[in-house]
């Protein structure tokens, strides 16, 4: 299994490098630079040092006994990627790619961002390593996520709002690619997910893989062995592939990804790419895509900006095709219930993205309790990020007033 992708970046019938010729040379250069870096012990040492001293790895596993009470007879384990510096798994990828950027002698990074989490992570790594940084963000998203725009600016990055197309993440990716075609000599395009042309799906997987490498060892050492289920949310799919990867050879472990069902599949307003999409080519890779009969991309929808993307990493498409992983859909409503439940039972406010995985874990636990009341399934959930950024969304969703419950001393 570890030999995937092949030399041309294929995961079975998915993947590849569908980009303008002008970028082919840069992608080959990146592929070579990463191969060299992997063969160079000093690269790994530097990355591990940053992961430990800067990001705070290894992240712990928290046994969520309070939350588990709502999941049938299941016991739920949380891999705490929310405890990373900048509050999510995104930092795992950007630290590695920023080191590679310097290794290639480039001085500038560009990135696309939806909610702003990958943009903030990229701006963070750029500040740390002295790289110039520009972040492309859909105009709609810059308005929804003004706080993250300000965070990026505080970190010294330039934020470009993209007013083309649907003005969201996919258009930000298009614009970043256009920038890259023009500036490829000095610039690295720091893609935030396991999508895009080869070698990005491979490169980002290898950088996110630390999540499963750590958590597999932690389960074996401190939690009585492998879990029965490993679950994660899937937008582009970087936390999920990181959380799945080292468990792929463990055939007794079920891998389940949860896509954003938005307002429900029937509404047409969702981001359930694997469940509802068809095979196509988007942003440089063959994968599942939400598209119409002419191959035009359809806009996705989710309450979670981080899952709001009409494509998915090609390796997930392949895992779905081969049946090694399965994918289900969680609606906005289910995710927000899980969001609230984790906050109340564990004192952890999750990112709404991660709340999709939590809702999925609740569903699996309840389903198994019905099927076999004697089963005691163990479910490992990737808690990919913290929910501070989502306070505004929660405010609207739960119709919070922002007013104190009582006033005293008046």
């Amino acid at each position: 299994m570890t030999s995937y992708p092949d030399a041309k970046g294929h995961f079975g019938r998915f993947g590849g490098r569908f980009v303008p010729e002008a970028l082919q040379a840069a992608l080959s250069e990146l592929e070579k630079a990463f191969a060299d870096a992997q063969a160079d012990p000093s690269f790994g040492e530097e990355l591990r040092r940053l992961q430990r001293d800067y990001s705070g790895r290894p992240t712990p596993i928290t046994v969520a006994d309070g939350f588990s009470k709502h999941a049938g007879n299941a016991r739920i384990y949380l891999k705490r990627e929310d405890l990373n510096h900048t509050g999510a798994h995104k930092i795992n990828n950007v630290l590695g790619q920023a080191l590679l950027t310097k290794r290639m002698g480039k001085t500038r990074v560009i990135a696309e961002t939806g909610a702003g989490q990958h943009g903030v992570a990229t701006a963070t790594a750029a500040a740390l390593m002295g790289l110039e940084c520009r972040v492309y963000m859909g105009e709609v998203d810059t308005k929804r996520q003004a706080l993250n725009v300000a965070r990026m600016q505080l970190l010294g990055a330039e934020v470009y709002a993209v007013a083309a197309g649907s003005r969201t993440l996919k258009d930000a990716m298009n614009e970043a690619m256009r920038d890259w075609v023009t500036t490829v000599d000095t610039t690295h395009y720091l893609i935030g997910t396991v999508g895009g042309p080869h070698p990005f799906p491979y490169l980002v997987r290898e950088l996110q893989r630390v999540i499963s490498t750590e958590s597999r060892a932690q389960m074996l050492e401190a939690h009585d062995g492998l879990p029965d289920y490993v679950v994660a949310c899937v937008g582009g799919g970087s936390n999920a592939i990181g959380q799945f990867y080292d468990f792929i050879p463990d055939e007794e472990v079920a891998l389940v990804g949860f896509e954003a069902g938005g307002e429900g599949i029937a509404s047409g307003r969702h981001s359930a790419t694997i469940t509802e999409g068809t095979t196509g080519v988007l942003h440089g890779a063959r994968t599942f895509v939400l598209q119409d009969a002419d191959g035009q991309t359809i806009e996705s929808h989710s309450i979670s900006a981080g899952l709001d993307y009409p494509g998915v990493g090609p390796e997930h498409a392949w895992l779905a095709d081969t049946g090694r992983a399965s994918y289900e859909v969680v609606t906005d409503e289910e995710a927000m219930e899980a969001f609230k439940l984790l906050s109340r039972t564990e004192g952890i406010i999750p990112a709404i993205e991660s709340a999709h995985a939590l809702a999925g874990a609740l569903r699996i636990g309840r389903r198994i309790a019905e099927e076999d009341p004697n089963a005691r399934p163990r479910i490992l959930v990737c808690l990919s990020g913290r929910g501070d950024k989502d306070t505004g969304t929660a405010f609207d969703w739960f119709k919070l007033s922002g007013q104190p419950d009582h006033v005293v001393g008046a």
Partner: protein, 282 residues
């Protein structure tokens, strides 16, 4: 006779280029997006591009089929194509445009992103394009070394395959890409996206020379940035095809509200480029 004499390598569209070269000039390729400002209006625009203002316009019309995520296109073409999509352009309209251009006596070709072709059906697209009288397809995001299905379909239906080369292409990739092409090869003269530029790139002659060394059997076209007759004359002095896109689209300023004025601007520019191409090797 031009230096290109293999009918097999020239396919349908390359023979048009060879004929132009025999007349002592390069071929003029005019890009226009089907569906902008509307489907019928875009067919009129293509007619204006073919006819020019003094009966002399484009030899080949590169019919752009809009795509929702056009990585290679600059703002002018993006805006036009976003509008065309919003107004309901479909892939079948590109094939209608092919028929219309063929009736005018020019060589129609289609430029679109790979997902559009894959969604239509790879074999079906090559078949229907050929049946409509199209010469071939320009695929800006399809890697020539990873598309066996396209090679098979285009061979079966006699459709030309135009791949892109770039200043950053290695010698090995130049050779591979040109050998996979049939008709001609599209050289992007600058590292960047489509759009008119004030000055032509000095990378143009370099990439054409490199391409001729890599594979002398097919013509080399230069695109990206050509906006007037003088630039066309300059590029035509060394390239076999001069490709103009954004500048033509820019003529359609009124968004369909004043077609008469827009079409006459389009005819003028098309005529100017045709005469630039005409004098380029004089």
């Amino acid at each position: 006779m031009s230096q290109f004499d293999s009918a097999e390598r020239l396919g349908r569209s390359g023979q048009v280029v060879a004929r132009c070269l025999d007349e002592g000039r390069p071929a003029f390729v005019g890009y226009y997006s089907v569906g902008f400002p509307g489907v019928d209006a875009s067919l009129e625009a293509m007619k204006a591009i073919v006819e020019g203002d003094e009966g002399r316009g484009a030899d080949i019309v590169e019919i752009g089929m809009p795509y929702s995520d056009p990585l290679m296109d600059g703002l002018v073409i993006q805006r036009a194509n976003t509008k065309a999509l919003a107004r309901g352009v479909h892939t079948k309209h590109a094939l209608q445009a092919v028929e219309a251009v063929a009736r005018l006596g020019a060589m129609p070709m289609v430029m679109t992103y790979w997902n559009v072709i894959e969604a239509y059906g790879v074999d079906a697209f090559a078949r229907d394009l050929a049946a409509a009288g199209g010469g071939g397809v320009i695929t800006p995001d399809l890697p020539a070394d990873d598309c066996p299905e396209w090679i098979e379909a285009t061979d079966k239906h006699g459709t030309d395959r135009i791949f892109l080369i770039a200043p950053s292409s290695s010698e090995e990739r130049l050779r591979m890409t040109m050998q996979a092409s049939r008709g001609w090869v599209y050289a992007t003269s600058v590292m960047g996206v489509t759009g008119a530029r004030a000055q032509t790139s000095d990378a143009g002659p370099v990439i054409v020379e490199r391409a001729r060394k890599a594979d002398p059997t097919i013509p080399v076209g230069i695109g990206l940035g050509v906006s007037n007759g003088d630039q066309a004359a300059e590029i035509g002095s060394y390239a076999d095809l001069v490709i103009v896109g954004s500048a033509l689209i820019s003529c359609m300023k009124s968004d369909g509200n004043d077609m008469a004025t827009d079409l006459s601007a389009l005819r003028r520019l098309s005529g100017e480029i045709a005469s630039g191409v005409e004098r380029s090797r004089a």
